[in-house]
Point group: C2
Chain length 230, copies 2
């Protein structure tokens, strides 16, 4: 964790899905009320169960959003990529984080006090709506996530995860998996051994290649088919 202001709200806010609606006065207000932080891989950005004191504007890196389930298991509900605004689900509901956010690649982000954000939302309707739309996006992701959890055959879940990583997270096809096998296991709600095996089968069947976490999806359609048939 490092502290050092290298960003400016004037610049970042343009890219933010929520803060892009702020007026100059408000931009200045968060500029004076933000904390800029860098997290290294593995570090916990927000811990489920702790008090919710800040909202987050994610500027750089890759982080995972996970739900800590019973018996020490944890389940990855999604990833955070720049630019993202994140308040945690249940912003209007209670004062606790439900989810844990952990840095996977080095992350740079700003924290803004909850009350400061709340104030601004009250006086800026456009932003309030953007906030709602942003929350909506999160729910829809959750619902999709839920669908994938309900895929019966585990091959389907891994197939889905690979497609998701390539398309939505790394945005390329031969991509370098910066997430661990354990993460891939938590993402699919499978034991890591199963993930290994299934990955191996995909390689054997020439659906993907993988060398040193460099994954290349050869037969996207086959993966899609595997994921769809369940």
């Amino acid at each position: 964790m490092e502290f050092n202001k290298t960003l400016t709200c004037a610049h970042c806010s343009k890219e933010s899905p929520v803060f892009c609606f702020l007026n100059e006065r408000q931009i200045d207000h968060i500029e004076r009320n933000r904390i800029e932080v860098v997290f290294n891989p593995g570090e916990t950005i927000m811990k489920g169960g702790t008090p919710k004191t800040h909202v987050m504007s994610f500027y750089k890196g890759l982080a995972k959003v996970s739900l800590e389930g019973k018996g020490g298991r944890s389940y990855i509900l999604g990833f955070i990529r720049p630019q993202t605004f994140f308040s945690g689900p249940g912003f209007f509901f209670d004062e606790k984080h439900r989810l844990t956010i952990t840095a996977i690649e080095e992350c740079k982000l700003c924290l803004i006090e909850k009350d400061v954000f709340y104030e601004m939302m009250e006086e800026n309707f456009k932003m309030a709506f953007a906030f709602m739309e942003n929350s909506n996006r999160f729910i829809l992701n959750l619902i999709h996530k839920m669908e994938t959890f309900l895929i019966k055959h585990h091959h389907g879940r891994v197939a889905d995860a690979l497609l998701h990583l390539s398309k939505d997270i790394y945005h390329k096809n031969p991509f370098t998996m910066t997430i661990s096998r354990k993460d891939l296991a938590d993402l699919t709600a499978l034991p890591k051994e199963s993930v290994s095996r299934i990955l191996h089968e995909f390689i054997k069947d020439q659906i993907i290649t993988m060398e040193n976490n460099e994954v290349h999806i050869l037969k996207e359609d086959t993966l899609k088919h595997i994921s769809h048939k369940g």
Copy 2:
């Protein structure tokens, strides 16, 4: 489905988590722009995939909210009980219902045009906030639901479902299950045969009794334990 106005917004809005913030003029506005409908058990109130044209104020009955998954399976994400406001997830995002709502017991509800609702939200900030809080509640439910899906042992899922039904849905302990075994299966994401078997074991172990869908939870703590250990 029957049409016949027997309710008044002036009365109902007092109980609504969202409409309770409306002023007289606005109450009058929805009074003139609402459709009152009665659905019989089994009827589809909203169908996933169809255009999202109205929001719903749920006045009476019991309905299930489900996600239609791959291969004709469907999964119950939750139930709707009066008084509930329901817009469907992703209200600000797109024009499609993601979830299907089906009446279990006879349901009476009002439909209000999306645009009418939108207008009112724009001019009434308090209501907008109530709407957000309401959405938040839905997300938190989803997250909890997700946790239960991830319970490893299936006994745990059934235990959790029984507790949920008794505590949150029927609000009593010896309760009459108005939902079918198939629904219970969809609620736990299990095949209905498994549900039957597990229920039978619970009865055998004297954790519950069940006669003609009259369920009595005898050992709540045991159920909780089964659900928690996963």
